[in-house]
């Protein structure tokens, strides 16, 4: 169990999970901990090994070494018992062309429930509604667009009320509206289930995830609650927008031992000073006071800059590459 998750039951846990294909290592011994009821974003560039991890967890591939449990059940010996409680959306979901969306969901439901028919039909209708497919429920899936197929994929993945939803790049092939819809569905489902999803779309992760793991070149380079990752990434940065001659302010700030870097950018011809600091407490106490002490400038905006997940992602991924 990772620090900070002692109180929360763990749904997925891996220890040194590794996979090689024909001598090429596609996953290098990762340790992953997914807490219950989290929306866990599994990030990584294309080819980092995200899909491999998912396939290993579902028993669709076998690990070369290491162990993993899902719901406390070992993936090697309890694959079907795990899949009974999991809903899975593949990266490029495929269904039987001749089946309609309703038939596809009915077919999926029968792997989990034998009846009664009315309850299954009701569940199918709920899933269609949730995925926004009620209007195209009786059309063969052959004519479905990428977005419709993706939403059908989500609908079939949660037909059994899974305790864990595993989604492989659920929004990658969608237009902005489709992406928004999928994220909304995920947010609606979070109260019932744990969601473990892979993606390379950082905006989506920042919007819906509470915990993230970053995989780069088959290695796990970070894993933490998203707020922790955003704040604990190499000190804080403050932004000061001001009008007037800022030379004196610049010089004064440069002299402060707790300031690590200074830069300036312009938005609408207004200079925005970016002040990176080593000591947040000193900065919070003295920074604004120092700037305002100069009568030549008027402060228009002041605030702490939150790190963007993209910056962190790029730093970690590039750091991992340079570190090898």
């Amino acid at each position: 169990m990772s620090p900070g998750t002692e109180q929360t039951p763990v749904i997925i846990s891996t220890r040194g999970l590794a996979k090689s294909y024909r001598g090429v290592q596609s996953l290098k011994g990762i340790d992953l901990t997914v807490p219950e009821h989290s929306i866990f974003g599994f990030l990584g560039p294309n080819g980092a090994g995200k899909t491999t991890v998912i396939k290993l967890l579902l028993g669709l591939a076998r690990p070369t070494s290491g162990t993993a449990t899902v719901f406390g059940l070992d993936i090697a010996g309890h694959s079907r018992a795990i899949r009974r409680r999991v809903g899975y959306l593949a990266q490029d979901p495929r269904f039987y062309d001749k089946m309609t969306a309703r038939e596809t969901l009915r077919f999926s439901a029968r792997f989990f429930y034998t009846g009664p028919k009315r309850a299954i039909e009701q569940r199918v209708a709920q899933a269609l509604e949730l995925a926004g497919l009620s209007d195209s429920a009786d059309r063969p899936t052959k004519g479905f667009s990428g977005g419709e197929r993706q939403r059908l994929g989500i609908a079939q993945a949660q037909i059994n009320h899974p305790d864990l939803l595993v989604l492989d790049e659920p929004a990658a092939a969608l237009d902005p509206i489709g992406r928004r819809d999928v994220l909304q569905v995920m947010e609606r489902l979070r109260q019932h289930t744990t969601i473990f999803y892979s993606t390379h779309l950082l905006d989506d992760v920042q919007r819906v995830s509470d915990t993230v793991a970053i995989l780069s070149k088959s290695t796990l380079v970070a894993q933490a609650p998203i707020d922790e990752l955003l704040t604990a990434s190499g000190g804080a940065t403050y932004s000061v927008a001001m009008r007037g001659d800022s030379k004196t302010v610049w010089r004064r700030l440069k002299e402060q031992p707790w300031v690590s870097a200074l830069s300036v950018s312009h938005a609408n011809a207004i200079p925005h000073l970016q002040v990176a600091v080593r000591d947040e407490a000193r900065a919070e106490r003295d920074l604004l006071r120092l700037v305002m002490a100069d009568p030549a400038v008027t402060v228009l905006e002041f605030g702490r800059t939150r790190h963007n997940l993209e910056d962190i992602f790029v730093n970690l991924v590039e750091g991992a590459e340079h570190g090898r």
């Binding site: 396939k55 579902l58 669709l60 591939a61 076998r62 079907r80 018992a81 899949r83 009974r84 999991v86 899975y88 593949a90 490029d92 979901p93 495929r94 269904f95 039987y96 001749k98 077919f107 999926s108 029968r110 792997f111 989990f112 429930y113 034998t114 009846g115 009664p116 009315r118 309850a119 299954i120 009701q122 569940r123 709920q126 009320h161």
Partner: protein
């Protein structure tokens, strides 16, 4: 979600997990489509046409012989190969196999459902429909064989056809493209046709093309029928071996 309380969970465990659902799907795919009726019509035209042609030529007093060996045996086998060659490999290529495998389904159930679905199609579609139609034609033209020996011949034909179903499934589990899955059984039939003239006895009978002659022997009664029974038994063992091979390979397959 009050209805959730009423759900009856599926209880299939072990190798039977998902078998019922998949078998129902296979049977529906076999019977419930327009393609199937088109296939049935085409094969009926071919097989019954051959019988009628044979009758018209007053074939040495035994028109049923050619019908059983060529019509039911060779054409039936070709039909089975065409119908089933895509069963496993097609699902692997399209990604639907991986989708099914993400459900609580055993890999044995996936292969067995394919086999049992094709079995109902082969038995009902080719052996029962074509066999009954041919028997009616033969009876109407005064060439009616004894019912029991005719049934025995049909059983031999069924085993022969199921051999090709099992072969197609096994090849589908091993290969990732349709070419070899279609070509190998066709080559087996062709090679068998060529080789059986150079082999004698059981060797010739065991060839794919030889077995269709075995079906003829099964319809004749006497010692030949006993030998035919032995060859059919060997084919039944081969079917089991091919299915075991298909399941073993498919179990090792990584989606």
């Amino acid at each position: 979600m009050a209805a959730d309380l009423a759900f009856q969970p599926a209880h299939d465990r072990g190798w039977r997990s998902g078998l019922g659902v998949l078998l129902r799907h296979e049977i529906q795919s076999f019977w419930g489509t327009r393609t199937w009726w088109v296939q049935l019509g085409a094969w009926t035209f071919l097989i019954q046409g051959l019988l009628l042609n044979s009758l018209a030529r007053a074939h040495h007093g035994a028109p049923g012989t050619e019908f059983i060996s060529v019509g039911m045996g060779t054409f039936g086998a070709l039909g089975m190969i065409v119908i089933t060659h895509n069963a496993v490999v097609g699902e692997k290529q399209s990604g639907t196999a991986a989708w099914i495998m993400s459900k609580p389904v055993s890999r044995s159930a996936f292969i067995l459902a394919k086999f049992l679905g094709a079995l109902t199609g082969a038995l009902a579609g080719v052996v029962a429909v074509e066999g009954a139609a041919a028997y009616a034609v033969l009876a109407a033209t005064g060439h009616s064989p004894a019912a029991f020996t005719y049934l025995r011949a049909m059983a031999a034909v069924a085993i022969y056809l199921l051999f090709f179903v099992a072969l197609s499934l096994c090849l589908g589990a091993f290969f990732t493209s349709r070419g070899p899955v279609l070509a190998i059984p066709l080559i087996a039939i062709l090679a068998g046709q060529l080789l059986r003239f150079n082999l004698a006895g059981i060797g010739a009978a065991l060839l794919p093309a030889g077995h269709s002659q075995v079906s003829v022997s099964a319809s004749s009664g006497g010692p030949a029928a006993t030998a035919a029974l032995a060859v059919s038994a060997i084919y039944a063992v081969l079917i089991i071996a091919l299915l075991a091979g298909a399941i073993t390979r498919f179990t090792r397959e990584e989606s």
